[in-house]
């Protein structure tokens, strides 16, 4: 539409009185309109950020859910053929139990705790999910639940090939209903550790060390596999499927972007979404460093390239960066990942020395790298002190180790936690499950 100079003059001649009239009307009315418009835009922005926050929880949530598949495949690949069905069964049931226990008890025990305190409500099932404040409350529950399930997954790998199914599941009920939520309440629930300045961004201690301590207690009380340490030497029992184990680690790596990335807990602003992006990058690079350190280490130390150690290295790097994936620069993130991996590599033969039989290396990867990653935050995040981190590591370590040990001992002395020697030789697929993993192949 062409505007001629004369047309413009004519329009302004007509507009002028109107403007004058509006000035006469009231300056307040125009201000109201502006205020209304601002409020409407604000509400839209709030709605948008609510949507994006919820989206982050949902996407991060199902990525972490997928880590359950990663654990299942990793463990299935690292156990012998005669125990594969049992490993699959353990993984699918622990995931199911974790969800139920977290709904029934866990979430409110974890987040219902009063600020700075030690214990939340011990039995308060979830009610209906309301709309929530900055995000849909159901999405928050979902996101938190998958972290609880991850903790449970860690325990099943270490104890493979000789544990009984039902006692294991009973332990998981307590781990997911009580132990993990109590530990979580102390930090993410704003309990006493958070008040002390302890910082664990996505769960190096809360999830990974917790699972690791529970696994360690179990491994000691359960005992090593028959024949593993016989004859005064270490007798390896190689896993049945390197492809499955590798697939498992890649799946875990993928899921970790949700694990760390969505722990930003918000995605409705430019600051938040850039933080999520930064976390993705640091998470990835820490894993990269973990793998490289692992293969260099095994080549130099053992003169071979052990694929299972390379896989462990990736995971150790991921666990280590999990406590603080946002503040480091990429080189620092790689340093954290690389050191976490190195510590894990050193721990593997150390466990053998103490005759602690960890089938998949979950203790080096989740416990040791988890502790390291948590302490390292004091050096990568200037707002966090070493004493606060140490306090958290020690308090949570003591709590989880002691409660797990008590649980394992009670189970051992009552219903027994270990299959018989014949059953162990025949394989748990035969003795506990009754379904062979590969029925068309003759088992050893």
């Amino acid at each position: 539409m062409k505007i001629s100079k004369s047309g413009l003059i004519k329009t302004s001649v007509y507009l002028l009185p109107l403007l004058g009239l509006s000035g006469l009307m009231a300056p307040g009315a125009w201000a109201d309109e502006v205020a209304d418009l601002a409020a409407k835009l604000d509400a839209q922005a709030t709605q948008t950020s609510y949507v994006f926050n919820t989206l982050l929880f949902l996407i991060g949530g199902f990525l972490v859910m997928w880590m359950a598949a990663g654990f299942a495949m990793l463990e299935a690949g690292l156990v012998r053929t005669k125990n594969v069905s049992m490993q699959c069964l353990k993984n699918i049931t622990l995931y199911a139990v974790a969800g139920i226990m977290f709904w029934l008890i866990g979430y409110n025990l974890m987040y219902g705790i009063a600020e700075g305190r030690v214990l939340g409500p011990l039995f308060k099932p979830m009610g209906d999910f309301g709309p929530g404040g900055d995000y849909a409350s159901a999405s928050d529950w979902f996101f938190q639940m998958v972290f609880c399930a991850t903790t449970a997954s860690i325990v099943s790998g270490t104890l493979a090939e000789r544990i009984k199914f039902w006692p294991f599941l009973i332990f998981i009920c307590f781990l997911t209903g009580f132990i993990y939520p109590i530990v979580g309440s102390w930090e993410w629930g704003k309990g006493w550790l958070d008040a002390k300045g302890f910082s664990d961004f996505a769960g190096s201690t809360l999830v990974h060390s917790t699972g690791g301590w529970a696994a360690l207690a179990g491994a000691i009380i359960l005992g090593a596999r028959k024949g593993k340490y016989e004859g005064g030497r270490v007798n390896p029992m190689p896993g049945s499927s390197m492809p499955l184990a590798t697939l498992g680690v890649f799946i875990l790596w993928l899921g970790w972007f949700g694990f760390n990335g969505a722990s930003q807990l918000a995605m409705g602003t430019i600051e938040d979404v850039s933080a999520v992006a930064r976390i993705f990058v640091n998470t990835n690079m820490a894993a990269c460093a973990g793998v490289v350190i692992a293969i260099l280490y095994t080549q130099i130390r053992y003169k071979n390239l052990d694929v299972t150690m390379a896989l462990n290295g990736a995971l150790a790097g991921l666990v280590a960066i999990t406590a603080e994936p946002l503040t480091p620069s990429v080189p620092v993130a790689m340093l954290v990942g690389g050191l976490g991996s190195l510590l894990a590599m050193l721990t593997v033969p150390l466990l053998d020395k103490f005759k602690i039989d960890d089938v998949v290396g979950a203790i080096p990867v989740h416990l040791v790298a988890g502790i390291f990653g948590t302490l390292a935050v004091a050096f990568t995040n200037k707002d966090v002190t070493f004493m606060a981190q140490l306090t958290g590591v020690l308090a949570i370590g003591a709590f989880v180790l002691v409660t797990s040990a008590i649980l394992w001992l009670v189970l051992k002395l009552s219903i027994g936690i270990r299959v018989s020697e014949e059953d162990e030789y025949a394989g748990l697929d035969h003795s506990e499950v009754g379904i062979a993993a590969y029925p068309e192949f003759v088992s050893q």
Binding site: V234, P236, Y302, D306, T308, V348, D352
Partner: protein, 112 residues
């Protein structure tokens, strides 16, 4: 009738099979096996722990042939399965009492 059991290195199977087919032996059974003779095992490393692998993968070829084909068959297997290195395998010969073709009921050399 004679039975030949030949333990060979697995990668030699196609060569041996073709050589046998070349002299008119058309049937055989192959079994996966593990074994060792004077060929030492080797040490491997799994997660920082050393272990010795004594048994090495082998294939056992079983053929039942007319006695007049025996020399040719042994020669065929010996030449094609040979690498000159330890672990090439062994050939054993035994007598066969009876042979029956299941589909038709033929016996003796008509069955092989």
């Amino acid at each position: 009738m004679k039975k030949i059991e030949a333990i060979i290195k697995p990668f030699k199977l196609d060569e041996v099979k073709e050589a046998l087919q070349g002299i008119g032996i058309t049937g055989m059974t192959v079994v996966e096996a593990k074994g060792f003779g004077r060929q030492k095992g080797h040490t491997e490393m799994y997660r920082g722990a050393e272990y010795v692998v004594d048994f090495l993968p082998k294939l056992k070829i079983e053929i039942v042939i007319a006695s007049d084909q025996l020399e040719a068959a042994i020669e065929a297997i010996k030449t094609t399965a040979n690498t000159g290195k330890i672990g090439d395998g062994k050939i054993f010969v035994t007598d066969v009492e009876q042979a029956i073709r299941i589909r038709t009921g033929e016996t003796g050399t008509n069955a092989i």
